[in-house]
Amino acid sequence: MKKKRRFGGDDELNITSMMDMMTIILVFLLKSIGSSEVEVRTSDNLKLPYSTNKAPPMLTVSVVVQKDAILVDGKEVANVQSETNPNVPNVRSYFVDGSEKTGLSINKLFDELNDKKEVSKVLESKTKGQIKFDGKMVLQFDQNIPYSLIREVMFTAGKAEFFDFQFVLIQK
């Protein structure tokens, strides 16, 4: 009888210690879960640089400049082209074609941002100022995008009355 109890079906697996472990892991995971408002979808065409800064990004109109396209809140508005740069070895040049621009302004990006601004202003008037258009914008650039394209995007945003920029980066 004694032998059967030890090796037979009556013995159950003691899972209490496993439960303890699982509970600790569960608490740890719940604590580690992020609550960032800004969504980042990194890909081969969008690699954000690292920064030593610590401030978290906030949710607002998002412009993403990848190596192949410019997106406003996930919607593609302009193509980005690339070529080797004869002036600077080892650095590729990324640009929006001249036919899609008026001076420094990228036409379709301006149209989209202008629409966003108009929607925000209508909301502002309907909510009697509870939702305010503050001209803030979240910018995500691939780490290889040159300053010339960054300047054009910022210029276009400024033309559409977006003046405050937040560059989204990966914390070091």
Binding site: I15, T16, M18, M19, M22, T23, I25, L26, L29, L30, S32, I33, G34, S36, V38, D44, K47, P49, Y50, S51, T52, N53, K54, A55, P56, P57, M58, N85, N87, V88, P89, N90, V91, R92, S93, L104, V138, F141, D142, Q143, N144, I145, P146, Y147, S148, I150, R151, M154, F155, A157, G158, F163, D164, F165, Q166, F167, V168, L169, I170, Q171
Partner: protein
């Protein structure tokens, strides 16, 4: 024997809870943040070439207005800020029309051959000397404070990159201008104006062509 049976029946059945926890753990592992995001705030840059400094107005009493020029051969500072960078007289080569960079890239080459498709570019792709830049900015700020030429507006640094400079170099220059926690700690004994960081606000000027 009856007593033993009664005790065994009372034991809590943890299997359903185990099932739930086993499902929850992979779900949470997927939702966990692999990276922490951060942001740098800046205002709209002034488009167009910056106005050249008026030589007549340059005098010793002007507050520090730092501009960092990022070029294809290295990093330098605007001419009025060079006074703070050198103890005493600014060497004549830095007063010339096209001065050499104050922080030249090693061997005069700033960009190394680098695989763009690498998951994250390391600074081995570039030869900019950001450590020396931060050290110099600390000494510039200390000198400006000593000479009472550091005002609240002096916290602002304007970046003037050439148009080909990649975003990653701009971000690392911004980080270098803000300094590390240790650099900030150097100004702990000063008043509030100086304690916001090495140079807390960084914005862009129109790029050089």
């Amino acid at each position: 024997m009856a007593k033993r049976r009664e005790t065994e029946e009372e034991s809590l059945n943890l299997v359903p809870i185990m099932n739930l926890v086993t499902i929850l753990i992979p779900a949470l592992l997927i939702a966990i943040k692999a990276v922490t995001l951060t942001m740098i705030e800046t205002k709209l840059p002034a488009i167009g070439a910056p106005a050249p400094p008026d030589v007549k107005e340059e005098n010793q009493q002007k507050p520090l207005a730092l501009q960092i020029i990022i070029g294809k051969k290295g990093i330098t500072l605007n001419k009025p800020s060079l006074e703070f960078a050198f103890d005493g007289e600014v060497p004549p080569e830095y007063k010339a029309e096209n001065p050499p960079p104050l922080f030249p890239c090693a061997g005069g080459v700033c960009f190394n051959p680098c695989d763009e498709d690498k998951k994250q570019k390391s600074m081995t792709c570039y030869n900019y000397d950001f450590e020396e830049l931060t050290k110099k900015l600390v000494s510039i700020k200390q000198k400006a404070i000593r000479e009472s030429r550091f005002e609240e507006s002096s916290q602002n640094v304007v970046l003037m990159p050439e148009k080909e400079i990649p975003y990653i170099v701009l971000i690392h220059t911004m980080d270098a201008a803000r300094g590390t926690e240790e650099d900030k700690a150097l100004f702990d004994n000063y008043s509030e104006v100086y304690k916001k960081g090495l140079f807390s606000m960084v914005s862009f000027a129109g790029g050089l062509n």
